[in-house]
Symmetry: C2
Subunit: 358 residues, 2 copies
């Protein structure tokens, strides 16, 4: 087992990464303050791992909530299911929530923990690659609104993140690829050497080689932990983690939540960001090609849906969280491994990217 | 105009108290960062003051949301009305929300500000006495759940609180009395001298004497600001502000939100707390009598609804936010002006209080 730390002063917490951590006694208890623990999972993950997790919590008073599975359920109604269950079970302010599942379960459970009685503790047990390398770390929680993704939420850090890489054995190929999109992101924004490692090891990742996956998860979490520690509430550097997300969120919202997986939309969005960067002369055509090839190897889309036109993109991107003073800002690439957040791009070049012109 | 400060480091903010502050140019603008301002009010208050407030914001891009009026609308659905309007108007993370109304408007708007895009700025313009002396100050925001009052929310401080005492001219007598309940609370928990001042000046307050109301508001806000500055997130002393609230919330939840006003339920709850304190020998019968008399003078109830029985109280109080490790804690009085939070009370004496026995 490897342990990383997200260094946030009194809110610091460990990320445990290893095989067969689920079921290992004593992993969770040190991070739980009171007696009451609510495990939140979904109907896909609960049959696989819920009993194991409840077994790890035998010393506590536990209850469970099982949510429907899918991004389309990441909304206020599903959030309220958790509140109702907490109140039915008379959970108090010293209770702890445990998120057992992918990014949707983690984001909703985290926001429930942030809001229940104005804030209770929670732990993350991410079971998808995407959640393990990205959404479970850093304290961004929330739900979607029909008009915009992740528009309602809170910054609320977990007490620990427990990543059992064996859970990836039960992940379907499409979900695995969606997680790899976020792994590639870390290479693009922060670490050209890691990008090259991914070029060499993509087949091993797709074959679910445990050593390769373990390294990719550790490197991703280490980069994310470093960036979050430097800028917890996204007043600066943390926005770099949103490479491809402004385009990607527009795709997810336009196509209906759950139709494009988040990682798929981000993959298309990252290539759009690379394309726009190249149009400004910041990135070489060769780097854009390498990025496209790596995404293709991973089994990810490299273009937005045909039916999305420039006007729809512009409308949906106008409510992006990085808009400041009415001006859209985007994460773009100055070089492989070097990203910036900038409003200083040419509108006509953005139009070309959105129209998919050559 | 008098200015108090809630001293919370980088999150410190002023409370402005005076007559005819609404309409005074330059009161709000210094507390607004971006261009976009959303004024949230309700259908009772908007016809009275909305145009005046929009006039103060002529230099900004404004939009408005008008909520239905009443505690029964303090829920996730109404909260979502604000999110929808923010997104329809493409409000960004640098926007500011303005709460114009009573405690319900302030609590919902504050929670919307805490949650929209994971946190935006907001200002409080409380127009009821209860909101002016209590709910607009201190950053407690949230909504109710059918099973419990204020069970969903966040700590999120406003950028300023603007109290125009002229707004009390349009408040009905029942709402005025409900606000006086919270004023009496400050005397009971913190300031025996202020309690005595209230005994002398209750008729002036009920006659809406501006000087008396101004003093009562200033003294209440000063006590609240002092307690909040010492314990923002209610890990200790701040819980004293909940005198009567554990009983009161149970009454509000049991009777259906909006049937008993919050201040009315708190009045009955405070007398129950005083009664229980006297049963432990901490408070004299004379002090309980003086409290009952003052509440009666204010036109407030001094007993819970007849139909509420002990079992229902116990069930509803079991999810109170002050419960720790499964044990109920209550705010009780050691003397006039001296409150404690304690789990160290006798269950049989609590039963006597809940049964209303002599």
């Amino acid at each position: 087992m490897n342990t990383l730390t997200v260094d946030l002063g009194t809110r610091s917490y460990p990320i445990y990464i290893g095989q067969a951590l689920l079921g290992t006694p004593g992993m969770l208890a040190p991070h739980i303050g009171g007696r009451q623990v609510m495990v939140v999972s979904n109907e896909t993950i609960a049959p696989l791992y819920l009993q194991t997790v409840l077994g790890m919590l035998a010393d506590f008073d536990t209850a469970t909530v099982i949510l429907p599975d899918g991004e389309q359920y990441k909304n206020l109604d599903t959030l309220n299911m958790i509140f109702s269950s907490l109140l039915e079970n008379r959970f108090n302010r010293d209770c702890t929530l445990v998120a057992l599942g992918g990014g949707v379960v983690g984001d909703i459970t985290g926001f429930a923990a942030a809001s229940y009685q104005r804030g209770v503790a929670f732990l993350q047990i991410p079971t998808t690659l995407l959640a393990q390398v990205d959404s479970s770390v850093g304290g961004k929680t929330g739900v979607n609104h029909p008009r915009g993704k992740n528009m309602i939420g809170a910054f609320h850090q977990p007490r620990c993140v427990l990543i059992d890489t064996n859970t990836l054995d039960t992940l379907d190929d499409r979900q695995l690829a969606a997680g790899i999109a976020e792994v590639i992101k870390y290479g693009l924004i922060h670490d050209a050497g890691f990008f090259e490692w991914l070029e060499t090891n993509m087949e091993a990742l797709k074959a679910r080689d445990k050593q390769a996956l373990g390294y990719a998860i550790e490197r991703s979490c280490a980069i994310k932990a470093e960036i979050v520690a430097a800028d917890e509430r996204e007043s600066g550097k943390r926005a770099l983690l949103n490479l491809g997300h402004t385009f990607g969120h527009a795709i997810e919202t336009a196509m209906g939540y759950g139709n494009w997986l988040h990682g798929e939309a981000v993959a298309a969005g990252m290539l759009m960001a690379a394309d726009l960067s190249a149009r400004h002369g910041w990135l070489t055509a060769d780097t854009v090609q390498r990025t496209a090839k790596l995404l293709q190897q991973a089994g990810l889309p490299t273009a937005p849906p045909d039916e999305m036109e420039e006007a729809q993109f512009m409308q949906l991107m106008a409510i992006d969280k990085k808009v400041v003073g009415g001006s859209l800002r985007l994460v773009l690439l100055k070089a492989l491994g070097d990203a910036i957040v900038t409003g200083d791009f040419k509108q006509e070049l953005l139009s070309e990217t959105l129209r998919g012109g050559a």
